[in-house]
Structure formats: structure tokens, C-alpha cells
């Protein structure tokens, strides 16, 4: 399975959304970025990130998936698994 070709584009789109909502620089977002480590990534902003990702990629996350959005790496892996369908 080749997901590599999608990674760059998807990576940029997810980071853009997170950076816009958290009002931070896109280069500040990496695999370990998380609600615990990133200022402003709390409550309503976390909800806004999930909604914006669903809209951007035209997907709907399962509750079980959204519950473990503990860092950027997992969010990206989840988005990739949804758009691979």
C-alpha cells in the first residue's frame, strides 16, 4: 500500500488547519505536538480542529477515533486512514 504520495499534501493541509485555529506558525506543529504541549489547544479549539478536518477532507470521524487525538501524529494517521477508503 502506498500512502507516501499522500503524506506531504495531507500533512500540509492538517498543519494549516491546526495552525490557523491555534493562531500559531505551521512550522511549530510536528508529530509530538499535542493539546498538552501546545498553547491554546484546549476545549473549543480542539473541537474546532476536529470539525475543520472533517470539513476539509469530507470525512466524519468515529467517536472512538476522535477520543484518542492525543497528538498530531495520531491525527494525521487517522485522516490518512479515512481518505484511503
Amino acid at each position: 500500500m502506498n500512502l507516501e504520495k499522500n503524506h506531504g499534501d495531507v500533512d500540509y493541509r492538517i498543519k494549516s488547519i491546526i495552525a490557523r485555529i491555534l493562531k500559531t506558525n505551521i512550522t511549530d506543529i510536528n508529530d509530538t505536538s499535542s493539546p498538552r504541549s501546545t498553547p491554546g489547544w484546549v476545549g473549543l479549539n480542539h473541537r474546532a480542529i476536529i470539525s475543520s478536518l472533517e470539513e476539509e477532507f469530507n470525512i466524519q470521524f468515529d467517536l472512538a477515533d476522535a477520543e484518542i487525538f492525543v497528538n498530531y501524529k495520531i491525527i494525521k494517521a487517522t485522516v490518512l486512514s479515512y481518505i484511503e477508503e
Binding site: A64, N71, K73, I74, A77, L80, S81, Y82
Partner: protein
């Protein structure tokens, strides 16, 4: 040599089992513990939970250990996702919750093979299963996966009609995602009479067969990746 980190994720098929008594498997006879004895210097983390879909186990591992970077991930999941059922989990909940003769009647027939054959519901669709394991593969992209082929004895058909053919479809999905990470064990389990009499769980021999196969693959992986040339 590098101290290897091994994650083991299984449903009840990787757990010890105290019944049936004549085929009981103790903890130290289960394949994850046989492997621990083979690799005393390795760090093991195991999550085994009966009657649990792959998503629940995988999400726990991903949520807590996504930065642990295990060298090897051993997985024995999938049968709960694909085996045939008479009712969905939600329907089972409703049946268990409500009183009255109709719900009692349904409750008695939750595992009726004829009803299962007629309804043939699976807990997790093929599309969703692929989505779940693809995510798992991406999150732990630096780990070597050994996903044990979803296996049942052909006689499991009498309890869960339609499961045997569905198992093949889900194994194909695992092979699509993990390639040579799918570990073929079904025929070895059958040849060695490794299933217990429920035709799903493993007896002592079955656990040993799996432990031997995994040891062979892990040794090969270690030789190729961690030992000095």
C-alpha cells in the same frame, strides 16, 4: 545487542484459559509468555482482552504508547471483528436491557447458529477494519509487524455459520496493509491439532506452535536488523 521492545496485542485467543479443564492453558503456556522466556532481555508490553474488537485494543495502544517506538508488534486480533453474529452490539444491549417474553426469546437465541446463519452480521465491516489497521500501521510506521492470521477450525462454522469465508476476506485486508507481516498459522494449527474444542481458542499445542513460529520470525528480524554484520 540492542534491547528490543515488543508490543503484544491480542483478544482472548492470546490469553490463558482455564476451561475446558482438559484443555486448560496456563499463563506461562500462552504464546506471549513462552516468547518472554525466549527473550528475557526484551521489554514486553502486552494488552490482551477477550471479546474486544481490534479498534478498542489498537486505540489503547496508540493512545498510550504512540511514542514508545516498539521494535516489534505482535497482533492476534480480527476474529471478533469478522465472525458472524445474530445481532449487532446495540441490539444485544437492547435485548439485555428490556424485560418481557419477546426480549427473553431473543436473548435465548443470541447465539443460535440458525439465526446467525440467517442474519450474518459482523461487528466491523471490511471497510472499517481496513481503516483501523491502516491507521495502526501509520502510527507505528517504524515497527515491524507480525499479525497472526485470523484463524479458526473449519468446524467453527457449526457455531458461527459464514465465519470461515469471512476470515479469508479479513486476512486479505491484513495482507494488503502489512504485506509479509501477515503470519500464516492456520494450516500449522490444524496440522498440529492446536485448536481447543470450541474451535476458536488455542490449546497448549496451539500456543506452542505460534510461539515457535514467532520466535523463528523474530530471530530472523533481529539477525537482519540489529546484529553486527
Amino acid at each position: 545487542m540492542k534491547k528490543i521492545k515488543i508490543m503484544v496485542l491480542t483478544d482472548s485467543t492470546g490469553n490463558p484459559r482455564s476451561f475446558p479443564i482438559e484443555e486448560a492453558v496456563s499463563l506461562d503456556e500462552s504464546h506471549p509468555y513462552l516468547l518472554r522466556e525466549e527473550y528475557p532481555d526484551a521489554i514486553f508490553w502486552q494488552l490482551s482482552y477477550g471479546n474486544m474488537e481490534a479498534q478498542n485494543i489498537i486505540n489503547s495502544a496508540a493512545g498510550y504508547l504512540n511514542d514508545w517506538n516498539p521494535d516489534i508488534i505482535i497482533v492476534q486480533l480480527g476474529i471478533i471483528d469478522c465472525r458472524t453474529e445474530a445481532f449487532t452490539e446495540f441490539q444485544k444491549l437492547i435485548i439485555a436491557k428490556f424485560l418481557g417474553p419477546f426480549f427473553r426469546f431473543l436473548g435465548k437465541h443470541t447465539y443460535n447458529p440458525r439465526l446467525i446463519k440467517y442474519r450474518k452480521i459482523s461487528r466491523v465491516s471490511k471497510v472499517k477494519f481496513k481503516k483501523i489497521i491502516t491507521k495502526f500501521n501509520i502510527i507505528f510506521n517504524n515497527s515491524k509487524f507480525f499479525w497472526l492470521e485470523v484463524s479458526v477450525h473449519p468446524d467453527y462454522e457449526s457455531a458461527r455459520p459464514g465465519t470461515y469465508s469471512r476470515v479469508k476476506d479479513y486476512n486479505k485486508i491484513i495482507a494488503d496493509v502489512f504485506g509479509d507481516g501477515l503470519v500464516k498459522i492456520q494450516s500449522k494449527l490444524l496440522d498440529n491439532h492446536g485448536f481447543n474444542n470450541d474451535n476458536l481458542h488455542l490449546n497448549k499445542v496451539g500456543h506452542k506452535v505460534i510461539a515457535d513460529e514467532l520466535k523463528f520470525l523474530i530471530d530472523k528480524h533481529i539477525r537482519a536488523n540489529y546484529e553486527k554484520k
